[in-house]
């Protein structure tokens, strides 16, 4: 039994599993990669979620990340690889060689920070963009106590789980709040652009 769990897939099995991903799993991976790229912002150095996903697919095909079908699903494996690559991009980011974020981002939800204020460094520009995006989110959710508390928890350096524990928010309520925020982002994007390519 444990041998089956530990068996590493061949390249052919990996290829077949990638091709067989369901519509929902492909959507899930695309959204996951978009959010990871959005999280690191300019630290992605102009790379987008498609590059992130493709790099993850190649890493799995090349066997740099082994797949044990008996112990992890292909989607979970890919999510782990996407997490690791995006973190690596963020760590390798060099602000000295960075272009201003306004040249890189085409996210309609993200207002051009330069249009709003004079700013001459990528750091200031990123911070200003984040301030505006957070302000918009908090305005939208001003009467949603859980969302406001979760954001405040992040402000204090806590994770989602720590915030729930510290403030007595149930896991179910936290997940529901997370879904509301995801929907809000989707809705804002849809209003900003018809084509979510």
């Amino acid at each position: 039994m444990s041998d089956e769990r530990e068996a590493v897939a061949t390249e052919e099995q990996v290829r077949d599993a990638l091709k067989a991903l369901s519509v929902a799993d492909r959507l899930r991976l695309e959204n996951f990669a978009k959010l990871r790229v959005r999280a690191i912002g300019a630290k992605a150095a102009g790379r987008d979620h498609q590059e992130l996903l493709q790099e993850a697919f190649v890493a799995v095909l090349e066997g740099r990340r082994k797949w044990k079908p008996g112990s992890v699903s292909m989607v979970d494996l890919l999510a782990g690889v996407v997490r690791s690559i995006s973190s690596h991009w963020a760590e390798a980011y060099d602000p000295e060689t960075a272009r201003p974020e306004s040249e890189l981002s085409n996210d309609p939800q993200r207002p051009s920070p330069l249009a709003a204020a004079q700013s001459d460094s990528p750091d200031q520009e990123r911070e200003l963009g984040a301030k505006q995006e957070l302000a918009a989110l908090l305005r939208y959710f001003k009467e949603d106590d859980i969302v406001v508390l979760v954001i405040e928890g992040f402000r204090e350096g806590m994770t989602g789980q720590q915030t729930c524990e510290a403030l007595g928010i149930s896991r179910k309520d936290y997940e529901a709040a997370r879904k509301r925020m995801t929907r809000y982002r989707g809705k804002s994007k849809a209003e900003g652009s018809q084509d979510d390519a």
């Binding site: 519509v23 695309e30 999280a39 493709q54 994770t159």
Partner: protein, 151 residues
């Protein structure tokens, strides 16, 4: 709240996006499709984009494999060209040596004759090249003497 420095807006947003990303992994298939529709994203079109990325990754993998095989082949050839093997000086002796090896190893005969139909049709340059390959493969030692007992 613990007495820690408050995070910047950028850090808060980064944590928030990462938390939302983790949430995406936990919702059901039906919800993810419904959310896409709500965000006016065509699920099939989006899935097709990802399928294209998979295809591109497969092609990239194939290309890298071919490049690696090519590099390995070139390195082997370069190593062969650097190595010095002794072969008989006389063309007749070289041909006789090749003949001796193929007699000893019938499989070598079939490989060589497959390429050249008939050993007698080989030019001296071909004979040298075949003998070098046989040395590389260990059928001849560095001094040009047949190795092993044969088949």
């Amino acid at each position: 709240m613990p007495d820690k420095p408050r995070k910047s807006d950028e850090e808060v947003l980064e944590n928030l996006m990462n938390e939302l990303a983790e949430g995406i992994l936990e919702i059901s298939d039906e919800e993810i499709v419904a959310e896409a529709r709500e965000a006016r994203v065509d699920p099939d079109k989006a899935a097709q984009r990802v399928a294209e990325l998979v295809q591109r990754a497969i092609e990239q993998r194939g290309q890298r494999k071919r490049q690696a095989a090519r590099r390995e082949y070139e390195a082997t050839i370069a190593a062969m060209q650097k190595r010095t093997y002794r072969l008989p000086d006389d063309p007749q002796e070289r041909r006789a040596l090749l003949d001796a090896v193929v007699q000893r190893y019938p499989r070598v005969r079939s490989a060589v004759t497959l390429q050249h139909r008939d050993l007698t049709s080989l030019s001296d340059a071909d004979v040298r090249s075949q003998l070098r390959k046989l040395q590389e493969l260990g059928f001849l030692d560095a001094d040009g003497k047949p190795t092993g007992e044969g088949e």
